[in-house]
Structure formats: structure tokens, C-alpha cells
Symmetry: C2
Subunit: 104 residues, 2 copies
């Protein structure tokens, strides 16, 4: 049998993000996209700290901006744009908070 090694941290993150998407996307039976209700459920459960602490547009306004093809649903690439946007914002905050190491 082929040896299966345990996933790396990056692989684990990719798997987990897909699993989280499918968990919420599957609530109404169609597991390829997040409906408005599913997106609200995801945001209020998985990113509650983020939605509470930021002076952001409302959660559904945010969904409208992410919904590039305007079908009223978020597919995987649209969902990952949200995750990527949050990660970039977190990284920027981190760099502002911690003295930057530049070409030491």
C-alpha cells in the first residue's frame, strides 16, 4: 500500500476551509454555494468576532460585494475571496502592530 503522510499545515488549512464551506453550503441540500441564509449562519458562527468588532457594511451588503456573478449565492472562489480579504487585513494589522523586520 502507498504510504500516506499526514497533511502539512497548509494542506490542513485548505482541507478545513473546504470542509467549513461545505458544512454551511450543505445546509439547504445544495452543497456548491452559500445562500443568503447559509452565509449569515457562517458569518455569525465562524466570523462573529469579525462582524461584531468592525464598522463594516452589513453582512448582506458584504455578500453582495463578494457575489461577483450576481446569482445571489456565493460559490467557492467567491467564498475564498472573503477569506483572502480577511487574511490580508489581519496581516496588515499585524505588520502595523509589530515593528517590521526589513532586510536585517
Amino acid at each position: 500500500m502507498a504510504k500516506i503522510s499526514s497533511p502539512t499545515e497548509t494542506e490542513w488549512c485548505i482541507e478545513s476551509l473546504i470542509a467549513v464551506f461545505q458544512k454551511y453550503a450543505g445546509k439547504d441540500g445544495y452543497n456548491c454555494s452559500l445562500s443568503k441564509t447559509e452565509f449569515l449562519s457562517f458569518m455569525n458562527t465562524e466570523l462573529a468576532a469579525f462582524t461584531k468588532n468592525h464598522k463594516d457594511p452589513s453582512v448582506l451588503d458584504r455578500m453582495k460585494k463578494l457575489d461577483v456573478n450576481s446569482d445571489g449565492q456565493l460559490d467557492v472562489p467567491e467564498f475564498l475571496n472573503l477569506i483572502g480579504g480577511i487574511a490580508v487585513a489581519c496581516h496588515d494589522s499585524f505588520l502595523k502592530a509589530v515593528p517590521s523586520q526589513k532586510w536585517t
Copy 2:
């Protein structure tokens, strides 16, 4: 003291992806972007299974495509485009492998 709750799975993934980026980006002392050497180290360590199992262009060709601003480095948004692209491909493969649930 304010109560700090443990991170959700999504928050944990976001934190981990930033930590992985910074781990590899910090190898040459400048922790805001991945140089070619750092990107190769990241790909060969964190995504070795992916680079070995796919008939992809070489790792550095892949970096060139991700490097939108052509500065020879990958910043956080460019890095996250790679992660997002892999996650979308994984999700698509999963949907092909598992019978789709449609409006059950």
C-alpha cells in the same frame, strides 16, 4: 479582563495561513514577501504532494504567474491567490469524486 474565546475553525485557518506565510517570508529577514528561494522552500515543504502529483508548470513558472505586480516576490494577496486556486481545484475534484447533492 475581557473574555477571549477560542478561535473558530475559520479563524484558526486564517491565522495559520498568515503564520505559514510569515514563517517562510521571514527566512531572508524581510517578512512581507516570499523571494524565489523562500517560495521554493514553501512549495517543497508545505505543498510537496501537490507539486509532485500534478503535471504543472515548474514551480518558478507558477510563481511568475502569481506575481501580479512582477516584482519577483510574492506578497500576501499573491500568496493567498495560490492557496485559493488550490482550494478551488480540490473542491472541484471532490465534487467530481462524490455524487453531487442537488436541491434534495
